[in-house]
């Protein structure tokens, strides 16, 4: 009788991890990507836009000098030359950035969740949390201001 109790206790003990075993951590999503999330009317490339490119786009396997997917490099110092008045090589036939017109700039389009704006290409950043509405709008404002090198 006593032995049976011990066997049952052992079985219950061994069943514990089967029922309750778990990874004891969470991975909360940060929609801002660790970047400021405020709307800026006249954003600066160096202060407001490049940090977005650096943190969300110029990553290993993506738009770094070593990889330069679709020939696009978004690292500091070279991003503007890679964007402004450079034709997009994927998707719709638009300039990546057409100064003064974000609606006809492929960079702005490819950030949108609406896939009809960038047929053939998934939304960027690829397989990652999208940029926030403010971050996308800041890029639009920078383009509309003439995409200055400021």
């Amino acid at each position: 009788m006593k032995t049976t109790r011990y066997v049952l206790a052992a079985a219950a003990f061994l069943a514990l991890p089967v029922v309750y075993a778990c990874a004891d951590f969470s991975s909360p999503e940060d929609p801002t990507g660790g970047l400021p999330d405020v709307l800026i009317a006249n954003p600066s490339l160096n202060t407001d836009i490049q940090p977005i490119f650096t943190k969300r786009c110029a990553l290993g396997g993506c738009h770094t000098p070593a990889e330069a997917r679709v020939g696009l490099i978004l690292s500091a110092g070279v991003a503007r030359d890679s964007l402004v008045n450079v034709p997009s090589v994927d998707g719709v036939p638009l300039m990546r950035v057409l100064p003064g017109d974000h609606l006809h700039s492929f960079l702005w389009r490819v950030l949108q969740p609406d896939s009809t704006l960038h047929p053939g290409l998934p939304r960027m950043p690829l397989a990652a949390t999208p940029l926030t509405t403010n971050q996308i709008q800041n890029i639009a404002n920078w383009i509309d201001e003439g995409a200055p090198n400021n």
Partner: protein
Amino acid sequence: MGYYSALTIFAPDGAPSPAKAWTVDLTANLGYVPPLSYDQRTAGRDKPEATNLTPVFGYPKATLWLPYGLGVEAAYTLPVDVNGAKPYIYSFAADWHVTTWKSIVLVPRLTYTGGYVEAPITCNASLATSGNSSWEFYWQKVCNSLESKDRFEPNQWTLELNGTGSIMNGTVLPFAGLGVVQYNSTFDIQVQNGSGGIDTDHPILKMSATKGYGMLGATWVVSNLIRFGGSLFYAPGSVFTGRISATLRLNDK
């Protein structure tokens, strides 16, 4: 990375029960690897990492008991390919039966775990058939349609204090222990480039941290020769799991 590191902590698989000098324990250990949830696998991104490759982690272990209550242990995880994950993990431990307190055998234990696990975590072929256009594009353009050879490298020291009791005329040895681990783990994202080499543009993630953990379990002494162990293992903030073991004790006369 803390999750992987905690899973490879070389904690006792049964009650640390010192034996006479030159006794050898041969043990087979099996630990449960709890699956990660979708949120845990995405780590704040859209694309899940292929982490749920194996439900168990096992290794054979040999222990040699020496004079003066000392023991040394060595374990090596057999490099068996499970869903593309292949471990090359080894561990060493030194035990010391320092004293007996109210019939509880106190055993401090120092361990080291090194080696690596190679697995297609970042770029897994399952992305190609996921039905998600973003992930399929990622597979083609970032992964170059090749599985990655990511390397997780645990490099960790632990220091534990275990206490082992004895009930049912010595046939059951309950034990409990607390430990501290110093992690120095790395996760090397090894995406293959189109020419068969490794794309060096991906980062090597590093983790250095000191954390605590605990375990609770018992060993059933079937005979002088055979014993079975079971334990619960908890590393707060990383993992809670269970381990079982079977031991052949040789030369304990």
